[in-house]
Amino acid sequence: MSKRAVDMTFQALYTLTDIRMILRDTAPVHELDDKQRADAQRLLENLERQVASLKQEMLK
């Protein structure tokens, strides 16, 4: 298993942590303002890339 797979695992966990913080900052109704929505969009796209890379590394 490559170091890249390990890095991608941590990066994905950290991205999820940032998403978790948005949930905390907007509790209890989770209505996102424009900035939070943009942040969430960016984080989710990063997460998709990180999971895709992880998949590629682990299943190759």
Binding site: F10, L13, Y14, T17, R20, R24, D25, A27, P28, V29
Partner: protein
């Protein structure tokens, strides 16, 4: 969802606004959560421990520089991280208090200060709070004089809370410390509700020790805290071991007995370190927290019969409220009795109130955004209106 056998995943702060008085300042930053992920293994900070083999000398992760930065931030000379403020009290009491020594506490002191004194064999002498639940310099002087008359000697140390846990009131630590110094009494500043919440300057306050609770007020995992002191006192409370085994002749280098060698050996310490830059920044903006808190207290006071028992206007975001004349009246006839209040709060996404409490309770709004503070304020008003209380 579970994170282990019988252990529900805790999602309290993701699904609700948490106003628990002791939890607000200890909520982790994103960086601390990331550090928890990376450093959760037991002795995780010991990968690069080199001689002289002591926690506060480790350079990678940068634990040594963190200790120096914390001391500087508190304007003290040396600091050690400890497993909670109580272990700071314990180290200081064990160093200075001997059997039957009088120790100056206050009528608002936290129980762990009493236990630290008890364990060391000392006698607890409390400065009484005035009617406003404030510890004054005059009352401090009177109590010291009383102790000198009773015991023939002044207290060996004073433990003074800057902001107390009962009312969240702010006491004039600088003036109180000045009185204590006139009797050569060293002062321990209990900053459990201040270190990491608002600016703290130990030397300006004129105190010998600054104790903080990282899991209460520095966005850190528990148990964690800080004990900082002056160079003079560091030689006493952070003295190094002198013991030798009689068979092996072993000695233990520069380990510090009051710290039991190394203190926070993993995730707690790295969690503190990861939050520290954010904590340093947030103390500069405590005015915003107070402004948000005001939104909530004003809403509570708009409910007829509600009183704020803490000093007012508020100087801290942890407040004691008396709702005997408002929300408690509903409890008398409500089918859920006193549990209706916490139940209604939970239904509206607010948690942290002791279930069943409708008479006197505390809450802490620290860390809420203005939007969340307005939501919280509105929830209290809504519950009052829904239950027929008068809202002005």
């Amino acid at each position: 969802m579970r994170c282990g056998l019988g252990i529900e995943a805790r999602q309290v702060d993701e699904v609700a606004i948490n106003i628990d008085p002791i939890q607000a300042g200890g909520r982790l930053t994103a960086d601390a959560m990331k550090a928890v992920i990376a450093y959760g293994d037991g002795y995780s900070v010991c990968d690069n421990c080199r001689k002289p083999n002591r926690l506060d000398y480790i350079a990678k992760p940068p634990i040594a520089s963190f200790h120096k930065e914390v001391a500087t931030w508190l304007n003290m000379d040396e600091a050690r991280m400890v497993p909670g403020a109580r272990r700071g009290f314990q180290a200081v009491a064990h160093t200075y208090v001997h059997k039957d020594d009088p120790v100056l506490l206050t009528s608002l002191s936290h129980y762990t200060e009493f236990l630290a004194v008890e364990e060391a064999g000392g006698v607890a002498r409390e400065i009484p709070a005035n009617e406003q639940k404030i510890i004054t310099p005059d009352a401090t002087a009177e109590k010291i004089e009383e102790i000198v008359r009773d015991s023939g000697k002044p207290p060996v140390i004073a433990f003074i809370d800057h902001v107390d846990y009962q009312y969240g009131n702010m006491h004039d630590i600088k003036a109180i410390a000045k009185v204590a110094r006139q009797y050569d009494i060293p002062v321990l500043y209990n900053g459990a509700y201040t270190v990491g919440i608002l600016p703290v300057d130990g030397k300006d306050f004129g105190v010998d020790f600054v104790v903080g609770s990282a899991h209460k007020s520095m966005a850190s995992p528990a148990p964690s805290g800080v004990l900082a002191t002056t160079s003079e006192r560091a030689a006493e409370v952070f003295r190094t071991t002198a013991i030798t085994g009689d068979v092996t002749k072993r000695k233990f280098g520069i380990k510090e007995p009051e710290m039991m060698g190394c203190t926070l050996m993993g995730v707690t310490l790295v969690g503190m370190m990861a939050s520290f830059p954010h904590v340093k920044e947030r103390v500069k903006h405590f005015d915003r927290e107070l402004a948000n808190h005001r939104i909530v207290t004003e809403a509570l006071l708009s409910v007829e019969g509600t009183k704020i028992l803490s000093e007012y206007p508020r100087k801290h975001t942890m407040t004691r409220v008396d709702t005997i004349g408002s929300f408690d009246k509903i409890a008398e006839t409500h089918k859920k009795r006193g549990f209706y209040f916490s139940s209604a709060l939970e239904e509206k996404g607010v948690t942290g109130l002791i279930p069943g409490a409708t008479k006197v309770w505390k809450f802490n709004s620290y860390g809420t955004s203005e939007k969340q503070a307005r939501y919280l304020a509105n929830v209290f008003v809504e519950i009052a209106s829904e239950n027929g209380l008068t809202v002005s």
